[in-house]
């Protein structure tokens, strides 16, 4: 096996083990840090898939933004003293059955299908193609995305600011 294959398996196992930590850890803070490992592993997957811009965006937006936001929410909503059983789970057995069934069906679909593999996307910078895509074919979704982000910004402030909620009665 070449070094790239060994590294791929290492990162894949790391990603899945960290995701299992998110799913099974009894402490929500440990879950948050396991989520950080998963997001880093997914960024490594993007590197293996020749998506350099996406790997950096993953690290910047997910780890630098979303994860920090989640850690803030955890710290704001838990009394630090009784954080030990902060992430309880119920209905484990039915959930395991449902998830196991879906996983088996999708796994069969993945391995029974003979995928038609075209020419591989070459390794190299993908920023040029993504940039022309955003300002060419996908310019309308791109503008809509900025509108959605503005609406989200206003909405999040309106939900969480006490004075605004009180003013609405």
């Amino acid at each position: 096996m070449s070094l790239a294959v060994v590294l791929f398996y290492a990162f894949a196992i790391f990603t899945v083990v960290c995701a299992a930590g998110v799913a099974f850890s009894p402490n929500v803070v440990y879950s948050a840090f396991a989520l950080m490992g998963t997001l880093l592993g997914v960024a490594a997957m993007y590197v293996f898939l020749a998506a350099d811009f996406l790997a950096l965006a993953q690290v910047l937006v997910y780890i630098g933004g979303i994860l920090v936001l989640m850690l803030f929410a955890v710290m704001l909503t838990h009394r630090i003293a009784n954080v030990n059983i902060s992430n309880r789970s119920v209905g484990r057995l039915p959930a395991l059955l449902v998830v196991g069934g879906i996983t088996m069906i999708m796994g069969r679909a993945i391995y029974r299908t003979s995928w038609v593999v075209g020419t591989e996307l070459p390794d190299g910078p993908s920023t040029y193609a993504i940039g022309t895509g955003f300002l060419g074919t996908y310019v309308l979704p791109f503008e809509l995305a900025s509108f959605v982000l503005l609406a989200v910004l206003v909405g999040a402030v309106a939900i969480s600011r006490k004075e605004l909620r009180d003013a609405q009665g």
Binding site: M1, S2, A4, F8, A12, T15, V16, A19, A20, V22, A23, V28, A32, L35, T38, V42, M45, Y46, F48, L49, A51, L54, A57, V61, Y62, I66, L69, M70, F72, A73, V74, T77, N87, R88, S89, V90, P94, A95, V98, V99, I102, M106, I110, W115, V117, G118, T119, E120, L121, P122, S126, A129, I130, P141, V148, L149, L153, A156, I159, R165
Partner: protein, 103 residues
């Protein structure tokens, strides 16, 4: 890349999706549920990018993945604002405590 095929990435995506779905189904902590949603979105992203690489020379899948990341950020911001609102009203973020509209 020699030795790594499309199925490898699809398998990683499948496992992430399964663990995310399990998280969403079993967690009763609202922030824990949001983490499960993030896992599911990441698994979908891996599939998008894997098909973009192996399904012909096109970056359309990567552009879709960027839109997914953007919407995940928006979802996390609004979701966590709602969680903080729930905590102020119910003094708990256990989703079973928020059954005011149930009966």
């Amino acid at each position: 890349m020699v030795g790594i095929s499309l199925e490898h990435f699809l398998t990683v995506g499948l496992l992430l999706f399964a663990l995310g779905l399990y998280t969403v189904l079993t967690r009763r902590n609202a922030i824990g549920i949001l983490m499960g949603v993030e896992l599911i979105l990441n698994s979908a992203n891996i599939n998008y990018v894997a098909f973009a690489r192996y399904g012909g020379s096109s970056t359309d899948g990567q552009i879709f993945a960027i839109f997914v990341i953007m919407l995940a950020a928006a979802e996390a911001a609004v979701g966590l604002a709602i969680v903080l609102g729930i905590y102020k009203n119910f003094d708990s973020i256990d989703v079973e405590a928020t059954d005011t509209l149930r009966y």
